[in-house]
Structures are given as structure tokens and as C-alpha cells.
């Protein structure tokens, strides 16, 4: 068990090293810091002095080491555009994105699991076919179109819900939350639904196929032969086993959701990390881009590692095989 955890953490560290190297290369070699920092028409000697004082004349490895050290101490440079430390910017935007992702994950599970079960239990029923057809349309509709249509209907035409921003937020330490105010909660609804739809289809299809697989296994057949009530068989025996991969995929998808929140945040002008990143991309604000890559990479790796370890904890077969 211990060995499994150690090897997973080792792999994670390796991936992070690669991601940080990419981020460093972007930071260091895309654009010339000396050119952007020195005055115009500066003599070559002055530029070289600046280069030396910044440590840019040292070898790649030494510079990369310095970058790692600064990153670990939380210094990710200063945004070209805002002239503020990147770490501060990201910390400020993090709560907005995380709350959006939490709401979206909750919504997609709350809707996706029942719909998937419905499709699996009566695969040829009218409801199941309708859900399948709608899910195909769902796959083909880009997130921003869903968002625009929702805004058009619920914000512009009906005027029920706000269409941009987070509403009123409450500060708890450095974390700002929209969960505690009425306007904050109302602001979460439309972006939450938009982001949830992206992964609703995935969860629904997964639950459906897992459920169909489980329902055809022997132990379910025996349970039926024993005359156990159908509800007990479906929900206590079958669904539990079908949910294992769903938990994994949901966990892994949280990383993609954070990345995909870029689109949702743009549509709803949601002040999260995604909006920060997209502004950085259009202004070629390299420090922010590099930091975002590093941060999302870190989240991905942490989530993947936790899911892997949890899997080993929950499923004894996996533990036996890899230990």
C-alpha cells in the first residue's frame, strides 16, 4: 500500500518537473526580458550588464533551478499587463473558478446519474431515446452557444437571473464566496448550468454503459432469481458497482472543467482564473500564462494522484496487483 502511494507521488513529481520546465521555457525564451526592460537604443554594454544582473547569462540548468526555487517560494513574476504579482492575481481569482466548478460538478452528477440509470433500465423506452437524442445535440453544441442561449432566455427575455459577474460576495479570510448571499447564489445558476452541461453528457453515457454491463452479470441474475425486489437490485446492488468508474471520471474531469471554465467565464464575464488567462493570451502576458499553466498542471497532477491512490484504497484487487 505504502509502496503504491510512494510510486504515484514519484510519478506526479516527474510530470510536474516537465510542466514546470515548459512553463520556464515560455517564461524565459518567449520574448526577450532584457529588450522589454532596458530603455530604447541602450548600448550593448548596458544590455549585457542588465543580462548579467538578472542572471540571464548563466547556464540553462542554473537558471531553471533559480526559477524552481522562486516558484516554490510563491514568486511567479509580475504580470506585464496589470503590473501586479501573478501569485496575488491567481489567488484572488481562484475562489470564483472553484465555486463554479463545484456547482457544475454537483449539477452534472445530480442529473447525469438518474438519467443514465433511466436509459440503462429501459434502453428502448421513449424517455431513454429522447435523452439519447438530446445528448447527441448536447455534444454538438459548443459551451458558449449554450451560455448565450441561456442568457438570451433567462436574463434578457425573462429577466429572472443575472447574466454576468458573481453578484455580492462575502469574504472569509482570503476566500471570497458567493454561496452566502442571495445575489451570489442567483449569479451562480446560469454559469453553473452551462459548465455542467459540458460534462453531463459524459457522465450520463458512462453511467448508462456501466449500468448495462453490471445488469448483465451473474450476481444480478442470481439476485433476480432469488426474487429480491427490483428496486433493491437496481439501486443497492447494481448502481453501487456501476458508480466506481463514475467517481474516477468525475475526479479526473475536475481538471478539464477548470480549463473549460475559460469559455464559460468569458461568456458570463465571471471573474475567475479562466478570464484572467484569456486576457493574458490576448495581451501576450507571458508571466500570467506560464503561471496558469503551472497551476492547472499542478491541479491536474494532484487530482490524478489522489484518484489513483483512492482507487488503490477502495479496490483491494488493484492494491494486490501493483504492490
Amino acid at each position: 500500500m505504502f509502496k503504491v502511494i510512494l510510486s504515484r507521488i514519484g510519478q506526479a513529481a516527474l510530470v510536474m518537473l516537465v510542466v514546470s520546465a515548459v512553463s520556464f521555457v515560455m517564461f524565459r525564451y518567449v520574448g526577450d526580458p532584457v529588450a522589454s526592460m532596458s530603455r530604447e537604443n541602450a548600448p550593448i554594454e548596458e544590455k549585457q550588464a542588465l543580462r548579467r544582473s538578472l542572471g540571464l547569462d548563466q547556464s540553462f540548468v542554473v537558471q531553471y533551478g533559480g526559477f524552481l526555487k522562486r516558484t516554490l517560494s510563491g514568486d511567479l513574476g509580475i504580470s506585464y499587463r496589470n503590473q501586479r504579482p501573478v501569485t496575488e492575481l491567481i489567488a484572488e481569482r481562484l475562489p470564483a473558478t472553484m465555486e463554479l466548478v463545484i456547482v457544475a460538478t454537483f449539477l452534472s452528477l445530480a442529473l447525469g446519474i438518474p438519467l443514465g440509470v433511466l436509459c440503462a433500465l429501459r434502453p428502448s423506452g421513449a424517455a431513454a431515446r429522447l435523452v439519447q437524442a438530446v445528448s447527441l445535440i448536447g455534444i454538438s453544441t459548443p459551451t458558449f452557444v449554450t451560455g448565450i442561449v441561456l442568457i438570451l432566455v433567462f436574463a434578457v427575455t425573462l429577466g429572472w437571473l443575472p447574466s454576468f459577474g458573481r453578484g455580492q460576495v462575502v469574504e472569509i479570510g482570503w476566500w471570497s464566496t458567493g454561496f452566502l448571499t442571495w445575489s451570489g447564489l442567483k449569479s451562480l445558476i446560469l454559469p453553473g448550468i452551462t459548465l455542467a452541461l459540458y460534462q453531463l453528457t459524459l457522465i450520463m453515457r458512462l453511467v448508462r454503459s456501466e449500468m448495462i454491463d453490471v445488469l448483465s452479470t451473474d450476481y444480478i441474475r442470481f439476485a433476480k432469481a432469488r426474487g429480491l425486489p427490483m428496486r433493491y437490485i437496481h439501486f443497492r446492488l447494481a448502481l453501487r458497482n456501476a458508480l466506481m468508474p463514475v467517481i474516477t471520471v468525475t475526479g479526473l474531469q475536475i481538471g478539464s472543467l477548470i480549463a473549460f471554465a475559460i469559455v464559460t467565464e468569458t461568456v458570463f464575464q465571471w471573474p475567475g482564473m479562466g478570464l484572467l488567462f484569456i486576457q493574458a493570451v490576448s495581451f501576450a502576458d507571458i508571466p500570467v500564462m506560464a503561471a496558469y499553466l503551472l497551476f492547472v498542471g499542478l491541479l491536474f497532477v494532484i487530482i490524478n494522484t489522489i484518484v489513483d491512490i483512492l482507487y488503490a484504497v477502495v479496490d483491494p484487487r488493484l492494491r494486490a496487483r501493483s504492490a
Binding site: 520574448g31 452557444v145 448565450i148 436574463a155 488567462f277 493570451v281 500564462m289
Partner: protein, 303 residues
Amino acid sequence: MNTLASPNLIMRIGAPISVMLAALLALVIVGCALLAGWLAPYDPTDLSTFELINAEIPPAFTADGDSRFLLGTDNQGRDLLSAMMYGARVSIAIGGGAVLLAASIGVFLGLIAGYFGGRIDALIMRIGDVILSFPTILLALLVSGIARALFPQAGTAEWAPLILICAIAIHEWVQYARTVRAATMVETAKDYVKAVKVIGLPGRRIMLRHILPNVMGPVLVIATINLAAAVLTEATLSFLGVGMPPTYPSLGTLIRIGNEFVFSGIWWIALFPALTLVLLVLAVNVVGDWLRDRFNPKLRVKR
């Protein structure tokens, strides 16, 4: 097209009505896009043809509509229908270009990985693993962001399509490489490849002339499904403002322009291009899904 329409072939293909309809819809949209230069009532890229006095006219079928502009005009007085036809052409061209580039890189690397195996194989596949662990949209945004930092002219109408194609292909080639690698490994173990090796043909010739034709089937199926995904990615990037510029809009750019006017009740600028995009992608997805199930039931492409 004539051969497609003959009843015999339809019977042989045996596609359900829904798939036939989807194929027809895709053909109509692609046809309108390709023939935009002849079919479109106006030239939306020619700035001299639109006048601000015609701006924001609603579609012709609404009360305030103008019969000159069937689907209304945008904020600059550009005929929306024409802009959509040209926009669809740009979207399809970039999507198709990305698929072509991704397939070429993927097939090439997949052949090499599968044929030689060993360290080259491991290297190519590990790079692919790392790339696939990031979402398409994030990588594409990074590529276009870096391109913008390196070349100031990256956002112009001449350069944007090339950068978009590269940005999308950098993620998509891995699927092709994985499929082709697996198929190449199977083929390499077969007798006919062993025989040509004995004859002493060079590896390049064996790969291109003997193995490649036998592994192309699944590549074509993946390409169909990927086309829909590539068009969507392009639209998303353009919508986010890092794709095609407003002077030469793709469907995504049009939706981006329209999005700014949704709040003032001007819904048509965003909605019609969005509808076209959804219909196009839906149609290609239906056909692609059917192709996949029909030609290779075991092939499951990750969304």
C-alpha cells in the same frame, strides 16, 4: 454525387434515414460554404459594400425586416447571410486543415513508432500521453498565446488561420498516431511484410507502399469524427477572441460579435451563426458515429 444518389448504392450502404438526412444537411452546409463566392448576395469581406445606415436590421421575416437582408445585418451593416456563408467556409477550411495536418503528423509518427518500436516508439508515445493529459482548448490557447507573443502579426487574417490550424492539430495528432501505431504493429508481424523485408526493400518504401494502405481505414473514420471536433475548437477559439479577426470572420467570430449585442435584444447576429455551427457539427457527428460503428465496432475514440 451522382453515384451516391443511385438507389442501389443507398441500399448497399444501408444507412438509416437519420444518417442520410444528416449527410444531406452536411452536404448542403458545406456546399453553401464552398460556393459562397457565387451564392452569397453580398461580399462580406469587402468593406466598401456595407454601410452603417444598414446596421442592425432584423431578419426579413420579422416586422422591421428588410427584404434585401434575409437574415438581417450585423453591427456594421454587413449582410448576415453572406457573412455566415463566408464564415462557414473559413470554419470548414480551418477545421479541415487541422484534421489534415493532425492526420499527416499522426500517421507519420504512428508508422515510425509501430514499425521501429523500441526507444523511438516509447519517446513518441510518452510525448503523446503528456499532450493528451491536457484538454484541447488549453493547449490551443497556449499555442496561440505564444504565437501572439512571438509574432505581432499573428492576429491578422493572413496568419490567424495557420496558427489556428497548428493550435488545434498539436493535440489531435496523438489519436491518429496511437491508432496507426497499433495497426502498424499488427501488419508488421504479418507474412507479406516479412517477405518484402527479406527482399531487402528499404524501410521507408515498406512503410509507405505496403503498410500504409492497410492502416488507412480507421484513419479516415477518426478524421470524420475529428472534423466536427476541430470545427468546434476553431469556433471556440474565435469566440474567445484569439481566432479569426472580425474583418475576416469565421462562424465563431460572428458569434463573438453577436454576443456583445445579445443584451440589447439584437439576437440574430449571434443566433443564426450559432445555429449553423450546431447543425453542421451535429450532422458531421451523426455521420461520423455511424461510420465508426459500421466500419470498426471495436474502435472507440475518446471524446
